[in-house]
């Protein structure tokens, strides 16, 4: 806990980390306050349709083709984006870490089998596989999350495997065996904490990536029809692109800012967690 707090502190002192943190705090606040500020939800038709931003002070960002206010849509959309982004990234992280650690530590046929499986996933174009999964099983948030996670874990698996391969030759691993520690404990308790830095950095990028994929799916009409996500607004805006481009621009800006903030945090984490850079300062 103390470690996490000090990491946050160090992140806030990093210029791009600070920008990223501020942005992500705003987005998290948006999703947290959505239900409180707009108890009616994002679907209510509150005003005239196709209202341009600024045209009516009651709807600063305008309304969509059904007269739904875009501000609550953005707030509720932040919820969905963050939820899908974080849970898909977490799932990919867990699968990838376990596969990578097991493959790297035990080696031999276990490694071969797991790595060929990883290769198999990587040969299929990621987004197409996600589309296929959502298309076949049906569009709901859990399925979308699963479809995103299932294409994202191989990258983590490779990363973790490479690090574990390097670390397992260290004497401290031998020492752990010598004091009679079991292999499972050695891998997950002793080796994994040593590869945390690259995992954390990749995680932030992974969240950003998952948010983009979710929005892309919704844009193609493969979003969960029961929830308002930024991709849903994009999908509505697609049909209005010629005369109402603001409908596309508003959620797009939100997406860009979110993804950018996560990437900035990723960059900052990379610097902050790199012990060599820390010493140079």
């Amino acid at each position: 806990m103390r470690g996490a707090l000090s990491l946050l502190g160090r992140l806030a002192r990093h210029p791009s980390g600070l920008v990223g943190l501020v942005l992500i705090v705003i987005i998290v606040a948006m999703s947290a306050l959505a239900g409180f500020l707009y108890p009616d939800g994002p679907w209510t038709m509150a005003g005239p349709p196709r209202l341009w931003p600024g045209a009516d002070p009651r709807f600063p960002l305008g309304t969509d083709t059904f007269g739904r206010d875009l501000i609550p849509a953005l707030f509720y959309g932040a919820r969905v984006s963050l939820l899908v982004g974080v849970s898909a990234a977490a799932a990919a992280l867990v699968i990838g870490t376990v596969v990578g650690a097991v493959a790297g530590y035990w080696g031999g046929w276990v490694d071969d089998a797991l790595m060929r499986l990883t290769d198999a996933f990587q040969t299929v174009p990621n987004f197409l596989l996600s589309i296929a999964i959502v298309g076949i099983i049906g569009a709901s948030l859990p399925v979308i999350t699963f479809a995103i996670a299932i294409v994202a874990w191989p990258m983590i698996a490779r990363l973790v495997r490479a690090d574990v391969l390097r670390l397992r030759t260290y004497d401290f691993v031998q020492s752990c065996k010598i004091i009679g520690m079991s292999d499972l404990r050695i891998v997950f308790q002793q080796i994994l904490p040593n590869c945390l830095a690259p995992i954390i950095v990749t995680a932030s990028v992974l969240v950003a990536n998952s948010i983009i994929v979710e929005a892309s799916l919704a844009f193609l009409g493969l979003g969960d029809p029961n929830v308002m996500s930024w991709g849903t607004i994009l999908n509505i805006g697609r049909q209005e692109l010629r005369n109402g481009w603001y409908l596309t621009a508003v959620p797009a800006v939100a997406l860009v800012l979110t993804v950018m903030s996560l990437n900035l945090i990723g960059d900052a984490l990379n610097d902050v967690l790199n012990p060599r850079l820390k010493e140079r300062k």
Partner: protein, 324 residues
């Protein structure tokens, strides 16, 4: 019953030439045995085989390793894990990599205690404190929460020793524990090891290539060459009057401890240790031996044990006062 008894050990990959062969060795309680030899002669492999930690491609092909009369190689992994740490500990050459860089040294010591003794967090921490004091780390209480990179090499090696001793094992294997340290720290660590050994009545298998270190710490010395024992005996007896030409060569190759003009150039033993698959028939040392004889090529000498505990593997051993 010896604490550790290795009998006719042979280690090697599948069908290829063995790396260690005909290795017989024992360590008694409270005794320090110095295992000496050039790099690549199989010292470290011997240590790893005792721990049951040989690399995957190597295996014990023949022979027995017994710890307190119990055969180690036939034990299932679970039992073996229990023996490690509890009955035997090991110290490595490189204190830099022997500790986990992301864990505080306190938690690395308590780890062992909690694994084997099931101690509570508190009790384990108290014992860790005792151990750090035992290995003479000043201000142990404050050091418990330090990370390895905050300590010097000598301090880290003390922590490694503390971890090895945490469960009061009866056998300690030290694989060149002072090679990576500078000379003054080396002396401190050796003194510490010696003292701990006396206090805890440890059997200590001390692996090194430094004869000076062996003379300081060991009771008995076992000299290995190309995978097997060539000479064995009490330290003073062997070092004062070596019988195997290889041992004599090693002693002659020591620096004299002087930079003065006229100090003779370092002697060396011509040639190098043959690779395991290139070991000649007959005596493996004969290509480098000044006393080689046709019989040495024809017949591999056996390890000839005398009643005094002295053993030598040579057809034509040196006699008292003779030099190679």
């Amino acid at each position: 019953m010896s604490l550790l008894h290795i009998d006719n050990l042979r280690i090697g990959p599948g069908r290829a030439a063995p790396i260690v062969e005909e290795l017989t060795l024992s360590v008694e309680r409270g005794e320090t045995v110095g295992l000496v030899g050039e790099s690549g002669c199989g010292k470290s492999l011997t240590a790893l085989s005792i721990m049951g930690l040989l690399p995957e491609n190597l295996r014990v092909r023949e022979g027995r390793i017994r710890l307190e009369g119990q055969e180690i190689q036939s034990l299932p992994q679970r039992r073996l894990r229990h023996l490690r740490g509890e009955k035997m500990g090991m110290i490595f050459q490189e204190p830099l990599t022997a500790l986990n860089p992301v864990m505080s040294i306190g938690s690395q010591i308590t780890e062992v205690l909690r694994t084997h003794r099931g101690l509570s967090q508190r009790a384990a921490r108290d014992r860790a404190l005792d151990l750090l004091t035992l290995v003479k780390i000043p201000d142990a209480e404050a050091r418990l929460d330090d990370y390895p990179h905050q300590m010097s090499g000598g301090m880290r090696q003390r922590v490694v020793i503390a971890i090895a001793l945490a469960c009061s094992p009866s056998l300690l294997i030290a694989d060149e524990p002072t090679t990576a340290l500078d000379v003054t720290v080396q002396a401190q660590i050796l003194r510490l090891l010696k003292q701990l050994q006396r206090e805890e009545n440890l059997g200590l298998l001390f692996i090194t290539h430094d004869l000076g270190v062996v003379r300081q710490v060991a009771d008995r010395i076992v000299v290995m060459y190309a995978g097997s024992v060539v000479e064995e005996g009490r330290v003073d007896a062997v070092l004062d009057a070596p019988r195997h030409p290889y041992t004599a060569g090693l002693i002659a190759a020591r620096p004299q401890g002087s930079f003065a003009a006229g100090t003779p150039r370092l002697a060396d033993i011509a040639g190098s240790v043959p690779a395991p698959d290139a070991r000649p028939d007959g005596c493996v040392f004969r290509a480098r031996c000044p006393r080689a004889h046709p019989r040495c090529a024809a017949e591999r000498p056996a390890l000839d044990r005398a009643a005094s505990g002295r053993a030598v593997r040579c057809h034509f051993p040196l006699t008292e006062g003779e030099t190679a």
